[in-house]
């Protein structure tokens, strides 16, 4: 029986912008009314192109940005309230974040030992010896040796640094990991090692993972479930093989089609092209966000926003074409 770990309900994250000193303050709808569930032990991929809000969503779940509206539940507890009140230490014990750039996510002045020690010192009361033991154990579990602990980040390669980042995320025993493009700045051969590390760690520690990426091939081979976002909204959610076998949303189809050199098992869908430019996130169009670019758009698509509906078991899509009403 699958246990719910994270539940997001109608999450909105809006930022204020002013285009110039004469204009009014406007809202950027970075994440606009997003809802989904992550189960224990699940690796969920969050995919979309620039401006879709995936990074903002990941950061919001971590409390790195504020929340404008909506609720986030971790194991049934409402953490959105904690985020709003900036009582974040409790949140940081439940969830941790893996950043994209291993070259700027480690403090160059800290030894690896210190980097791993800080979360323990800040979150838990532990004796010095106990701390040291835990740090060594965690370092070894990510493939670093004990000598590495005395070194500084600049003495390591990108792949090794990313291992330190993973170790730091794991050391406070979180339930949930959010990884924002964790392998995008790494070479392919290094990426494979880091992905294996993440995969092994997640199954060993029974964690859940939100894997944010623009790389569909990695998501296809790594994640259990996939959420597709476009312009602040979720357009489709499905299990990985279902999504690639039967992509329902026009945008998902366009994304899959654009990936070079797919395996022959994945069928090519003809005549799926996104016409026209990306609309602004400041004043999103009325109705479906894809309406100006979708060749199947009808008049209705310009009037009403399609709700995210479960059209098959565990397969959700937000498109009027599948809305029986």
């Amino acid at each position: 029986m699958k246990q719910k770990l994270i539940e997001v309900k109608n999450l909105k994250v809006y930022f204020k912008v002013k285009e110039n000193i004469f204009s009014r303050v406007k809202d950027v709808h970075a994440v606009d009314d997003v809802s989904f569930t992550i189960y224990k032990g699940e690796k969920v991929g969050l995919v979309g192109e620039s401006g879709c809000g995936k990074t903002t969503l990941g950061r919001a779940l971590m409390g790195l940005t504020g929340i404008t509206d909506g609720k986030i539940y971790y194991e049934g507890d409402d953490v959105s309230w904690l985020i709003r009140k900036r009582r974040l230490n409790d949140l940081y014990k439940k969830a941790q974040f893996i950043f994209q750039d291993p070259y700027s996510s480690l403090n160059p002045r800290f030894k690896i030992f210190t980097i791993l020690e800080r979360p323990l010192r800040n979150f838990y009361r532990m004796g010095k010896e106990e701390r040291r033991a835990k740090i060594i154990k965690t370092a070894i579990s990510v493939g670093l040796d004990e000598e590495s602990l005395e070194k500084f980040p600049h003495e390591f390669s990108g792949g090794q640094r990313q291992r330190v980042v993973v170790a730091r995320a794991l050391i406070s025993d979180p339930l949930f990991l959010i990884a924002d493009e964790p392998t995008s700045s790494l070479d392919v051969s290094v990426q494979a090692k880091i992905l294996k590390l993440l995969s092994d760690t997640i199954s060993r520690m029974d964690l859940s993972l939100l894997f944010i990426s623009h790389n569909l091939a990695v998501i296809n081979q790594f994640c259990d479930k996939v959420i597709v976002m476009y312009l602040g909204k979720i357009v489709e959610i499905a299990g990985w093989s279902e999504l690639f076998k039967n992509p329902l949303h026009y945008y998902t189809q366009a994304l899959i089609n654009a990936v070079p050199l797919k395996d022959v098992s994945v069928k090519k869908i003809d005549n799926v092209r996104l016409e026209g430019p990306l609309p602004s996130v400041i004043d999103p169009p009325k109705g479906c966000r894809l309406n100006t670019r979708c060749s199947l758009a009808t008049e209705f698509c310009f009037e009403k926003e399609p709700p995210l509906l479960e059209v098959k078991k565990d397969h959700f899509v937000a498109c009027h074409l599948y809305d029986k009403k």
Binding site: M62, G63, L64, L88, N89, Y92, Q96, F97, F99, Q100, D101, S104, S105, L106, N107, P108, R109, F110, R118, P119, R121, N122, F123, K151, F152, H154, E155, V165, R168, S172
Partner: protein, 285 residues
């Protein structure tokens, strides 16, 4: 060779190849040695007057000559090193304290506080420094403490701007956010994440402030707002020399040369350090 010792020998090579750095390090060492140990080895005390030998040009007994009170100029110049260096060091320390406080809080807190703090800094920066010194002197009288307080205020804007710059650029880096989600409190972030990664520009700026202070102190003492006689500040030596330099020009050259030597050594040190701490080389910020 392990990574660590390879990095060390690289650092050594970089230092040795940078001529400006090597020369300035030698010069600064001479200055510091002079300041600490010089007074123990000079032939005369700085107050020692020998009225029979007034205004004597450089000779066997007085290698720099004597001033209008018969005091040995060489001894006075050497003592002066101690005062100049000590005052400059204190100014560096205090201007850093003021500047860092303004700069890091402006950069970190941002928003209206940033605007306000930086305007205060701008005002200090715009007011002619002599005026600031005069104002301080008018409040608390002349003397060593006046010079230190006034110059600490005068040079704090430069430090503030440098630190605000480094704070703003570091604030966006992921390791700062990573620190926050590791539970780090704001003070820890400011000291261990931001300031410790701003050391490079800070050190370079400090050597510049040393150089500026030596000149400014000399000027202030010369103008009568700084150190009181008979303390042999180099600036005061120049002031004494004003009346007699037509016939006894050596009274100007020796203190002047000392000031020049000190200012150049710190300027070069700053330049040399800036080259060394080029972003290509990661360790010091």
């Amino acid at each position: 060779m392990s990574n660590k010792s390879r990095a060390r020998s690289e650092l050594f090579t970089r230092i040795v190849k940078n001529k400006k750095l090597v020369i300035s390090l030698v010069m600064v060492t001479i200055l510091v040695m002079l300041a600490i140990f010089g007074p123990m080895f000079v032939p005369y005390g700085y107050e020692q007057m020998n009225t029979g030998e007034r205004l004597a040009p450089p000779n066997q007994n007085n290698i720099f000559g004597t001033d209008h009170f018969g005091r040995d100029l060489f001894s006075r110049v050497v003592y002066g090193a101690r005062y100049s260096l000590m005052i400059s060091l204190l100014v560096v320390i205090f201007s850093n304290i003021i500047g860092i406080t303004f700069g890091v809080s402006a950069g970190y807190i941002g928003g209206k506080f940033d605007i306000f703090a930086m305007r205060v800094i701008d005002i200090i920066f715009t007011v002619p420094w002599i005026l600031i010194a005069i104002l301080v002197a008018m409040s608390i009288g002349r003397g060593t403490q006046t010079v230190i307080i006034a110059l600490s205020i005068v040079y704090s804007p430069q430090v503030a701007r440098v630190i605000r710059g480094t704070t703003l650029s570091l604030k966006e880096k992921e390791f700062i956010e990573a620190g926050k989600i590791s539970g780090e409190k704001s003070l820890s972030i400011i000291f261990r994440y931001i300031l410790s990664n701003s050391l490079g520009p800070l050190i370079v700026q400090s050597t510049m402030v040393m150089a500026y202070t030596m000149l400014a102190e000399a000027a202030l003492s010369y103008l009568g707002y700084g150190i009181a006689p008979p303390t042999p500040s180099w600036g005061l030596l120049l002031q004494d020399a004003t009346r007699y330099y037509i016939k006894s020009s050596y009274l100007v050259y020796f203190p002047g040369a000392a000031i020049m030597f000190a200012v150049l050594s710190f300027s070069f040190l700053g330049d040399g350090l800036r080259d060394l701490l080029d972003p290509k080389f990661s360790p010091l910020g």
